[in-house]
């Protein structure tokens, strides 16, 4: 994904700067965040495989790779400081820098959620869920759906950042009800009074994993909000989603 972020795309909102180095700096910053986003998706999928299928090597791999996302987050901060200090961004550039700073925070926190899921896989191994993973096909299927939904939203939000694409961002908002729906299903399943084959500790681990996946979807929505902020100049946080989607589509003549 980072490879798609050509230097020329830095100016896709309003054309290139007279000072080309400025474009390169913004492209570098965005490239770091896209790279972080791609790694978070890989981390999440590996962590969920570790929980669902009991692949503990995947869990260890997630823990090993986590610092790379943290270091990229520090690189993003450094680039942001540099751009602010050297370029004094205004208008759309200011929005881009501010939004990328917030997005970097959301991506980094989504990476932490993947680590949390991986840790649950290791705990589950310790407390009796062995090779082969969760002993319930229904729950496996639920967690995979939740993983697909969260990762789909997250990937779409990162693609939206790559081009500051409003339509992709709106698509993330439209996916939210599905995310909450699957998340509720997982919670209901794990909340059954007579859930056979699971100890309370195991249920806590699985609930923690499901909750972390839901949070990754929430981070995707936060990222999508920032894409709208850059492209439209509107801060749409805390707005009613349905009205927002309708208004933005109408304003854009769609």
């Amino acid at each position: 994904m980072a490879g798609d972020n050509s230097l020329a795309s830095a100016g896709d909102i309003a054309g290139g700067h007279t000072v080309r180095r400025y474009d390169q700096e913004l492209a570098k910053l965005r490239g770091i965040i896209l790279d972080m986003g791609q790694r978070v998706i890989e981390q999440t999928q590996a962590a969920v495989a570790a929980v669902v299928d009991g692949e503990v090597t995947q869990a260890y791999r997630v823990l090993d790779r986590e610092p790379q996302i943290d270091f990229l987050s520090l690189d993003a901060d450094e680039e942001i400081f540099r751009v602010i200090a050297r370029r004094q961004p205004t208008a759309v550039d200011l929005r881009i820098v501010l939004a990328l700073s917030r997005i970097a925070g959301d991506v980094e926190r989504a990476g932490d959620k993947a680590v949390r899921i991986a840790r649950q896989a290791l705990v589950l191994r310790e407390i009796g869920i062995g090779q082969g993973g969760i002993p319930s096909d229904a729950l496996k299927e639920l967690l995979r759906r939740l993983d697909d939904q969260a990762c789909c939203m997250f990937e779409r939000s990162i693609q939206a950042v790559a081009a500051f694409d409003v339509e992709l961002a709106l698509g993330v908002f439209e996916d939210e009800p599905r995310l909450f729906g699957v998340s509720d299903e997982a919670r209901d399943f794990l909340g059954q009074e007579d859930l056979a084959g699971f100890t309370p500790r195991q249920i806590v681990c699985l609930l923690t994993s499901a909750h972390a996946l839901e949070r990754i979807g929430n981070h995707a929505s936060n990222i999508a909000e920032q894409v709208i902020y850059v492209a439209e100049g509107k801060d749409i946080r805390y707005r009613n989603r349905e009205i927002l989607i309708e208004t933005l589509r109408r304003d854009r003549g769609l």
Partner: protein
């Protein structure tokens, strides 16, 4: 004034030659050109240097106790427009101004109006500090004397001290008022010129790139002064520094090829401009 119509035409011609192909049709200004308490009201102002039109139908209010910054690329007409506000363009042969510019309801281009007292009411500070080759005292005293604003030496002394204080220069020069104004530093000279402008009790102060010849410290002092002067005067400032416009003004007007493209609250212009040309210019994507 050494500028001639030919000079101005050449400058505009050279600037616009590449862009003429893109069309120089009149553009409708984006944003509200009016303000709540206007001191100067400009409507449909056109300026011609001979057959060359430098300003095209510009309307803009300058409000009481506000700083309006005018920004735009070289040759866009911002300085030409500024100079219309106290009829400085009258000094250029072949320059013609149409439309209406009113100061407190009075048309400043009324044939019966004397431009000399007008230039006291609408004072001007130039790009390069231009103190007279006289003492600091005489630099400030010159205006009140020729306009007959004071009746006694004591009254004149009071005006001079007040003007130098308002210009933030009094403490630095009070012990050497008899020394030449030209002996001051660049920043002090510019503040002396501001004191000279203030001494004739203007209502509006026009500033044409007042800090372009100054270092960052002197610039910061002038910017602080502009903010203080706003309490008593209306200020219109032309600047090439985006950051300066963002720092000192409450409203910003963006000019392009003689058109006023966009005007709005400075905060809005620098965070979310509505016109693509404004956005391109302030983000450094222009041209």
């Amino acid at each position: 004034m050494s500028t001639t119509v030919d000079d101005m035409s050449r400058r505009i011609g050279a600037m616009s030659s590449a862009e003429l192909a893109g069309g120089r049709e009149s553009r409708v200004t984006v944003g509200d050109v009016t303000c709540a308490n206007p001191r100067m009201v400009c409507r449909d102002v056109d300026v011609f240097y001979g057959s060359t039109q430098a300003i095209k139908g510009v309307s803009l209010d300058i409000g009481k106790n506000e700083v309006v910054s005018m920004i735009g690329p070289s040759g866009c007409g911002k300085s030409t427009f500024l100079r219309c506000l106290n009829r400085m363009n009258d000094t250029i042969d072949g320059c013609r101004v149409t439309g209406s510019i009113k100061l407190d309801g009075q048309d400043i281009y009324d044939k019966g109006l004397d431009p000399v007292p007008l230039r006291a009411q609408v004072g001007m500070v130039f790009q390069k500090p231009n103190p007279f080759p006289k003492s600091i005292y005489e630099n400030v005293a010159y205006g009140p004397r020729i306009h007959g604003l004071t009746n006694s030496k004591a009254e004149l002394d009071e005006v001079i001290e007040g003007s130098l204080q308002k210009a933030g220069l009094w403490n630095e020069v009070k012990d050497r008022l008899d020394k030449p104004g030209t002996g001051l530093s660049g920043g002090q000279q510019q503040r002396l010129c501001i004191a000279r402008t203030i001494a004739v009790s203007p209502e509006v102060i026009l500033m044409d790139e007042p800090c372009s010849a100054l270092d960052p410290i002197a610039t910061a002092i002038i910017e602080e002064l502009i903010d203080e002067l706003r309490a008593n005067y209306s200020i219109a400032i032309v600047t090439h520094s985006m950051q300066q416009a963002a720092r000192v003004s409450q409203r910003t007007a963006y000019f392009h090829l003689g058109d006023l493209i966009e005007v709005g609250e400075t905060n809005q212009i620098f965070t979310n401009p509505k016109h693509r040309l404004t956005e391109d210019y302030i983000t450094g994507r222009f041209g």
